[in-house]
Symmetry: C2
Subunit: 457 residues, 2 copies
């Protein structure tokens, strides 16, 4: 334990230095495929090695292969933060190593999850009595939402298998995890409908109605619609109230994918993004995306836990208990349950409601300022409303010119942006979400963009 | 960052003290349902709080609700260890917060996973070219194995949905996750066959053959058999070579659940437990069970990654890449991928092959010594061969007397054992797996058992 103590202190200082001086690192790793594999021995060591030696290799071989997600100039995908209080909480959780698959085997793991998830419902203005649990990713959570939807319309599935006439609806901007979830559950891709969107990339409810009617006429059973609050490409927000109307009228399960944007609802003036979501049957949002919690922490809420339980519950004898505690294993696929609530609870308390709101409010403000600046510059085109913290833009000109621009930005090592295709066009994205990203960071990005575009003209 | 640094050092010392002085804690939490919930505010704080204050509440409110899994006297389920080098690795991984869903977004996350999993294949004497990836739990991994099995026999599933004539086989001792996996995927429970076992709880291959024949005659399609190496109740080991023969002859996918016992194959004289597994199509084992790695870290191997990829691959535009790196998102449900390989790599190097083998070898030896001692005592009955690190036993007498005995042991706060039903009988389990469990620990357990049984007589 002497070695643990000594190196533990060194690593705390290393982490503090890492977070204080991100500029020392190129944001995007520049290694080539197999560099790390080739840099490491083909076989593991027969004899043990010292922490000192392993840590040297971590710095020398592993670190150059890391793309620095926890970096203020990481602006790709959805940027996020592993915040200092969360890092400390994970240290404690790892030491405890509690595995809360049933209440009894570590009551605090289950109950702190209940408490933290209720606090969030309160802050979000969502029904306080929703059932909630933490899963690893939004992909897994959405799969659970679809499985519950199926259990609601076809409860016999658990016994006789998946019916082949159930149809699921999502927008053409929905995340691939919706289709993957349906596919994994045994609902074929041919039974997944991609509903068209308006000029701001929001699902058109009238097209949803048409599609449902057409499927009913064909003898199929519409069972689930997935609305997205903050799509992956453009952060667009589906009209959830109108979709909820359709779902209610048609008897469909409404699952909401708010993985990225949901966190913004901690800000009172952005609470509107969840309008209508109080009518959802299930909803996912990821504190590991925009709520300063490190991966993995995906929150899954369900209004009808009895249905979810029907989809997943199977209790083996070794885990049968007589207490009245909540056994979260009954509500999903994974049995093991890491103590992920601890980091979430540390973050909610350390920053508080107002602290978190202020971080997100300021990120949205700086996003809008950069968007306005780009919109005023004739060399750029803004390709989607940037209401939250994502800017979709193009340099006016060809897709190829925009590809070169992205390569130049990312190749600089100073920033990492990502790209997407929207309406067949190649588009660049700036996603702000790391809490250490400042206006100065964006000023620097603007200078780089300005210089690169000038060179390319 | 000053606060992080200050409290980081305090928490490293707290963790070191925690690991050094486990006797300060009752192994099993004694809180009642809702104690933790009632001990915390109904609403989260509006204003942020200090780490000091949060940590006080952690010690005062959360810790009493923790059952101490990382404790030498935790002998329930499958005991495990969050070892010192793994705790340090998790600290680094949390600070980096890298999310390696595709190679490009953090090459080291993918490639270290490849390297560490190859090292294990080498140590286990399994085919070096197997594809491997880390998932959260064995439940998730087994679901992936079954999904791949389905994609092999019915590749049209991804497009048109699950067929309803596929039949899966497992033993009557298999983990509930096998049935749950099939059920979740849309394979009804009526298509899951539970095959009988011999007097040592091992699947009877002749009964498997009979069941397959009967199903074929009924017009069904046998597609997958799950063999278990180390069952949950008794740690029994199915005859994998004979099951592999059947699978090969009948064209079934062979998935092996070695979640607990697989780790023992790092010991050369226990390598036999994986005999026949080189013929498996997929296999899961959990370093977070018996390889000194904290939850979650479940290793999933697959001999036919092309089939796995067919079951799960869906690539959205935003994640399309042109490099030749391996994109692990294509092989499973979760998109996000935490840097779990780092803790595994730290552990493999810190202890080395011989160090890990020596820990497990000694745990098996002390298990057998305790088993022999109990077998010689007429008051006890050993209920299953204890070949590895699990002893199934009963006090001679009624189920009720054994229930009371377990309550007395667990109620002491000094040990945590679990129970199971085998052949309709209530049985107690001693599972050894924490690296700090010593012969002295078991001596103390024996004294307690001896005293309790004496009192009850």
């Amino acid at each position: 334990m002497r070695e643990f103590r000594e190196f533990g202190h060194k690593m705390i200082d290393w982490v503090a230095d890492y977070l204080e001086s991100p500029e020392r690192y190129s944001v995007l790793s520049t290694v080539k495929p197999n560099d790390i594999i080739d840099g490491l021995p083909a076989h593991g060591p027969e004899q043990g090695e010292t922490i000192e030696h392993i840590f040297e290799d971590f710095e020398r071989i592993i670190l150059p292969g890391i793309t620095h997600w926890n970096h203020p100039r990481f602006l790709a995908f959805f940027a996020n933060t592993s915040s200092p209080p969360a890092i400390l909480a994970e240290l404690l959780a790892t030491a405890l190593n509690a595995n809360g698959f049933i209440w009894k085997v570590s009551p605090a793991v289950t109950e702190l999850e209940v408490v933290a998830l209720r606090w969030l419902l309160h802050w979000f203005g969502l029904p306080r009595d929703w059932f909630g649990m933490i899963l690893d990713t939004a992909s897994t959570a959405t799969l659970h939402g679809i499985a519950a939807a199926r259990a609601a319309i076809a409860p016999e599935t658990r016994d006789i298998g998946a019916p082949n006439d159930l149809v699921l609806y999502m927008s053409d901007q929905a995340h691939s995890s919706v289709e993957k979830g349906a596919m994994s559950l045994g609902i074929g891709r041919r039974n997944v409908r991609s509903i068209g969107t308006d000029s701001e990339f929001r699902m058109l409810p009238e097209l949803l109605v048409d599609a449902i009617q057409k499927d009913r006429e064909a003898g199929l059973r519409p069972f689930c619609v997935v609305a997205t609050v903050g799509t992956t490409s453009t952060a667009s927000i589906d009209p959830v109230p109108a979709i909820a109307d359709v779902a209610e009228r048609e008897g469909l399960w409404l699952h909401v994918d708010a993985a990225y944007a949901g966190s913004a609802a901690v800000v009172p003036e952005f609470r509107w993004i969840l309008d209508g979501c109080e009518r959802a049957d299930s909803l996912v949002f990821n504190p590991h995306k925009w709520l300063m919690v490190p991966v993995d922490c995906s929150v899954f809420y369900c209004r009808r836990p009895d249905v979810l339980r029907h989809a997943f519950s199977l209790v083996p004898e070794i885990l049968r208990t007589s207490d009245s505690g909540l056994n979260l294993m009954d509500y999903g696929i994974p049995l093991g349950r890491r103590f992920r609530a601890l980091k979430l609870w540390f973050v909610l308390r350390y920053y508080g409601h107002e602290g978190l709101a202020q971080i997100i409010r300021e990120q949205v403000a700086m996003t809008r300022d950069l968007r306005d600046r780009m919109a005023e510059d004739p060399r750029f085109e803004i390709c989607a409303p940037a209401q939250l913290s994502v800017i979709c833009f193009r340099q006016r000109g060809t897709d190829e010119a925009n590809r070169l621009l992205l390569d130049a930005i990312n190749g600089s090592g100073r920033f990492y942006l990502s790209s997407t295709l929207v309406g067949g066009r190649y588009i660049l994205r700036i996603a702000i979400g790391n809490m250490f990203t400042s206006r100065a960071t964006l000023e620097e990005l603007w200078s780089l963009l300005d210089a690169l575009v000038a060179t390319m003209e």
